[in-house]
């Protein structure tokens, strides 16, 4: 089982869902494919999708919804 990390490329506010009324993009235990969106980062009112680079199973979120994050910060962990 290889572990990999999904990092935010940007500083800003992290969101796990596309809008407050919608469901989270992913939950712990979900299967993730490379290119899947796992969250959004809001930088100065501009929203950028955070995508997984790898296939695997999501094992943990290290950032909570609406957390302030720094570039390179680990958002989630995968096992493949």
């Amino acid at each position: 089982m290889a572990k990999s990390e999904i990092r935010s490329p940007l500083p800003g506010v992290f969101y796990r869902r596309p809008s407050p009324e919608e469901k989270n993009y992913k939950e712990v235990g979900d299967d993730v494919k490379a290119g899947d969106v796992v969250g959004l980062v809001e930088v100065m009112k501009t929203y950028t999708e955070v995508k997984s680079d790898a296939d695997g199973k999501l094992t943990a979120f290290l950032a909570e919804d609406e957390d302030a994050i720094m570039p390179g910060q680990v958002i989630a962990e995968l096992e493949s």
């Binding site: 506010v13 009324e21 930088v43 100065m44």
Partner: protein, 459 residues
């Protein structure tokens, strides 16, 4: 009577602007701030500073309870909401007044009436102000909305009743577009403003955006002439000026007096802006909305009238009558404001939350720079990208454009990428120099000129 200690429930350049007005009025200032803004210029300048929450605005600048706690703790007897955040939140205005504190703005009920675009439209119609053809009021279910869109005729704009500043607007070119966009617009409005109400408006393809500044104390009402803000990108203003070069004196008088009529009809209190679309070809103007707060671009009006709009609204909130009569307000010269944003115009205006390194402010005759910058400042990524507004004033418009080029050329922000190069390019453009544009002019121009904005600062 009058406010003695003012809490600023905002951040950035407008917080700095409000502190300056308060200081000149002998009013003490309390700056509330998020954890990310502890090192901000406004915090540095205010008499007191109180941290109200973590960086995301939803947990700090939008946290009504935390702001009221800070007001009680500091003994503030007035709160200025600035623009954005809680500035047009009627419940906030009510909560402030209920706490025995003066809200620098109109009453909650006035914000509800004018801030809700559909009811503002009805108020304008009642006051005899022309409005854009559209749905009369909030549209109900999506089927009713589609019928209404058909009647108005495509293209149709879908707007959030609780929106403003260009947010929550979508354009449907045809019925199929409409079926896709209307549910999205409702969801976005619900999430952004907590109110999913929508209304429809006919899209006027080639229009100028012209707005009238008004002041009222609930008894007397004046206009402070107009601003033209037709240069917009993604419906955000980037360049604003006063007066508009498109109006004759007779048209200017009609437009400005219609704004006063609206202010009078609703017994407005505070500073407000009545926004219009102006059709160059017919000379017709149509009310679009009224903003019940100070606007980002208020300095161009101050520069051509000599008024201090922020001081005026603080005085009104403290119970003082308007300090000026209509005949005292004279238009002199021409002012242009450009928005210096932390965005890279050479890279599709990508946000650039960098560090200011080697800051130099423009100066000299006819130059005003309202900003939040200092050397070494790390621009936080959590808020909008506006760093400051560079405003130039001269005897006439050509002289103002020449002065703008000179002033933009003096600005240095070092490692930070900003929209400054865009304004040098615009100032050289023949259409801009001729004032020959409309609200849809800038985006195609940007597409055509993409990649031509130098990010090299001169020496």
């Amino acid at each position: 009577m009058g406010i003695t200690k003012l809490l600023i429930a905002n951040r950035g350049e407008i917080a700095v602007r409000i502190i300056r007005a308060a200081k000149e009025m002998g009013i003490r200032t309390v700056q509330v701030h998020s954890a990310a803004d502890a090192g901000s210029l406004a915090v540095e300048m205010a008499d007191e500073a109180i941290e109200i929450g973590p960086p995301p605005a939803s947990k700090s600048y939008l946290n009504i309870a935390a702001i009221l706690d800070a007001a009680r703790q500091s003994g503030a007897d007035g709160i200025h909401p600035g623009y954005g955040f809680l500035a047009e939140n009627a419940d906030f205005a009510d909560a402030v007044e209920a706490a025995g504190i003066a809200f620098v703005g109109p009453t909650g009920d006035m914000i509800r009436a004018m801030g809700d675009k559909a009811s503002a439209r009805r108020a304008a119609q009642k006051a005899g102000v022309p409005t854009v053809p559209g749905s009369d009021g909030v549209i109900g279910d999506l089927a009713e909305a589609a019928r209404s869109a058909d009647e108005i005729g495509f293209p149709v704009m879908i707007k959030a009743t609780a929106g403003g500043g260009g947010r929550g607007i979508r354009v449907a070119e045809n019925a199929r577009d409409f079926a896709n966009l209307a549910p999205q617009a409702a969801a976005e409005a619900k999430s952004a403003f907590g109110d999913g109400g929508l209304y429809l408006e006919k899209l006027i393809a080639r229009a100028r955006h012209i707005e009238v500044q008004i002041l009222g104390d609930g008894t007397n009402f004046v206009h402070c002439f107009e601003r033209e803000c037709s240069l917009q990108r993604r419906r955000q203003k980037v360049w604003e000026e006063a007066p508009s070069m498109a109006l004759t004196d007779a048209q200017r008088a009609d437009l400005c007096m219609s704004a006063v009529a609206l202010a009078q009809a609703v017994k407005y209190r505070g500073a407000g802006t009545v926004e219009y679309l102006y059709d160059d070809e017919t000379g017709a103007f149509y009310f679009i909305e009224m903003n019940t707060r100070i606007q980002v671009e208020h300095p161009v009006t101050e520069c051509v009238t000599g008024l201090d709009l922020v001081a005026e609204m603080i005085a009104i909130a403290g119970g003082k009558p308007l300090s000026v009569r209509q005949e005292d307000i004279q238009l002199r010269g021409h002012a242009i404001e450009v928005r210096i944003n932390a965005e890279d115009p050479a890279n599709n205006f990508a946000p650039f939350p960098g560090i200011v390194d080697g800051f130099r402010a423009p100066g000299g005759p006819g130059v005003r720079f309202d900003h939040m910058l200092y050397d070494g400042y790390q621009i936080p990524p959590f808020y909008d990208s506006l760093l400051g507004k560079l405003i130039v004033t001269a005897d006439d418009r050509p002289a103002a454009i020449t002065r703008l080029k000179r002033a933009v050329g003096e600005l240095r922000t070092g490692g930070l990428k900003t929209t400054a190069p865009l304004f040098l390019a615009l100032a050289e453009d023949a259409d801009v120099q001729a004032g020959n544009y409309h609200t849809k002019w800038l985006e195609p121009w940007l597409a055509e000129h993409a990649g031509t904005f130098s990010d090299e600062e001169g020496t």
